[in-house]
Point group: C2
Chain length 379, copies 2
């Protein structure tokens, strides 16, 4: 497979660029802060005053211009998304009847955008990541848009600050040679989360970066790849999109949505297309985190002496002889910690979690135990 | 000094015995469960369904007979005490305008009882201790009453289950030789809380027992000792007692109470009178604890596999890979603990404490920090 021809003038790299923001995922490893009814992306996890969703849109709108952002979210979160984004037109929120993973979400957005606007370049940026709001992100996206116009599926490879075992990696190959995208390279492949030794070996080569799951591509290119890789999913999404902005939407969703294959865009497109030479990577030299757990969350919060960092009102937290760690002060109560290092305390109005930074990755077991206790109301 | 003569027939050892229950103390080391407005003695700390105060009275009433218990407490706790003890006559609660330590509390009760009933034997038993409800306690008290009739100030020496550094000790000497009190011995002295090595040395002698601060004595004997040791305090208490059951009580309290010396009965009477040969000890071979901190509290709660013990509804506590420790589930929220051994989690509606069993003794520093934060409302 070779990159398809560019369909638009590339003199203004961002022209016609549209952002797709998948806002899904349970955020189980941030329970009890993140809940099924109020998942991670609806929360301010950095104390910035903006939720992850809001910060994502704040970052993208300057690049797309007004009306250039589409959010794909679950039906149950549609109202919350619109409430958090009062500048968004209701038509810019695509509500899924049920979660069908990232390929269906992004593919739906691509198909709807193709119907509405033709073959625009779109970039998919998850609503639940933390990205530095400086110029680095925009620089990466502009280059990615240029490479996308040249027919590539373009991912942003985040400069690794260490051999993380919490992220997948993307491996860069030869320079792409596309004018206006001087840093873009071919992707030699993607990897799942490695062990620590493997991660260190990756970084030693200089070829690997973190895969943030950001994909920039022309809508038609994405859908053509999908037609080749997953024809049934492609056909279903096109059928739904054909009636999205009509009175047929409800019927089409009811008939077709439940039949769609659940698959991540990484497996459906990024990996096979990369193997065929159709994926490029541009360097993303900015701070990024997917806030995968409370240990990760703690690194995003301001330091507070040697004590635990605080999400919420630090005036509500009293810590003595407690180094590191994180306290989420989320109930208005005073939280006191004495003599525990690297502790994680997450205080919400109806559920409390006490664990350690080292165990924060294992939170699923707690969520499972709460479910077994018959307390789905807390999940 | 020699023991004063018995003033009553000792054929029924419990005849005329009255119980005085000092219900005071902030219980700072059980914060945030214990508060100034709802101190330790008002709480059920064992999950028995009875508060410490209620359990204390439950234990004493069979020994005194109906109407034989007097509670001395702060004015602000009078209503709560009466609410918890509906069987108590209002006159049986002596309300102090301000805390003046245990000598004033017990001395007041002795003086009031002397006015009301003459020279009865009274025993003082703090409202905030946990005592096994089996026959051992009654057996010790009956023997103490006999020795008290013979003119001694009698303490109960608790059989030590280990070299505790959290309690003071009482050292037994020669047998008392009072008929009906075969186990009673002279007290050679009292000690403050020892270090671990000293505590072990104490136990090795076989002469030491824990000092639970239980004192049994005739009212007149106590007041005579007080007249010798602390004449001003004695005089003030007698003046107040003379008008207690009259319309002069308020005026007398207002005039005299604030002038009373603040001193513990241990220092005012037990130590000096012991040095003079006037104090006896009877063995208390029953389980006892003063619930001095959360580490101590945890040992009083039922085991729950290897996980933390729970005060409150165990259905609200989910622990995984967490051995030992204690969770006070006091807010109705679900408390989850992952991967922390010997943790102490105290969850109340407006304040949360997270610490360890090993640090539980240092809670005062947390309380001080909360006060410095301007949150006296939580103390």
């Amino acid at each position: 497979m070779t990159p398809r021809e560019a369909s638009a003038d590339a003199t203004d790299p961002a022209l016609g660029f549209r952002a797709v923001v998948p806002a899904g995922g349970a955020g189980t490893r941030l329970w009890p802060l993140s809940r099924a009814g109020a998942p991670k992306f609806l929360h301010d996890l950095t104390g910035s005053g903006r939720t992850l969703l809001q910060a994502t849109v704040d970052r993208l709108e300057p690049l797309t211009g007004p009306g250039g952002v589409v959010v794909v979210t679950g039906q149950r979160h549609r109202e919350a998304v619109l409430a958090q984004l009062p500048g968004l037109d209701a038509s810019a929120v695509l509500a899924e009847p049920s979660p069908r993973d990232s390929m269906a979400a992004i593919g739906l957005a691509a198909a709807v955008l193709l119907e509405r606007e033709g073959d625009v370049v779109l970039g998919s940026f998850a609503a639940d990541q933390v990205v530095d709001q400086g110029p680095g992100f925009a620089a990466a996206v502009r280059e990615a848009v240029v490479a996308a116009r040249a027919g590539y599926v373009v991912t942003v490879g985040i400069r690794a600050t260490g051999p993380s075992t919490a992220f997948g990696y993307v491996r860069a190959g030869e320079p792409l040679g596309v004018a206006g995208a001087p840093s873009a390279r071919h992707v030699r492949g993607f990897t799942e989360k490695p062990d620590a030794e493997t991660a260190a070996a990756y970084l030693a080569t200089g070829e690997y970066r973190w895969n943030a799951g950001m994909f920039v591509t022309r809508a038609q290119v994405l859908l053509d790849h999908l037609a080749e890789q997953r024809p049934a999913l492609h056909e279903g999404l096109l059928r739904i999109a054909s009636g999205w902005d009509s009175d047929r939407r409800g019927r089409l969703l009811a008939e077709t949505w439940p039949t769609l294959e659940k698959i991540a865009i990484d497996h459906a497109i990024a990996e096979p297309v990369a193997a065929a030479g159709g994926v490029a990577v541009v360097p993303g030299d900015f701070a990024w985190d997917d806030v995968g757990d409370f240990a990760s969350l703690s690194t995003l919060l301001p330091e507070r002496g040697t004590g635990p960092r605080v999400l919420g009102d630090a005036a509500d937290v009293v810590s003595l002889d407690a180094e590191g760690g994180v306290v989420v002060a989320g109930s208005g109560r005073v939280v006191t910690v004495l003599g525990l290092d690297d502790v994680v305390v997450v205080d919400t109005p109806d559920a409390l979690l006490v664990t350690t930074r080292a165990r924060a990755q294992e939170l699923r077991s707690v969520v499972d135990a709460v479910r077994e206790r018959g307390r789905e109301d807390l999940l």
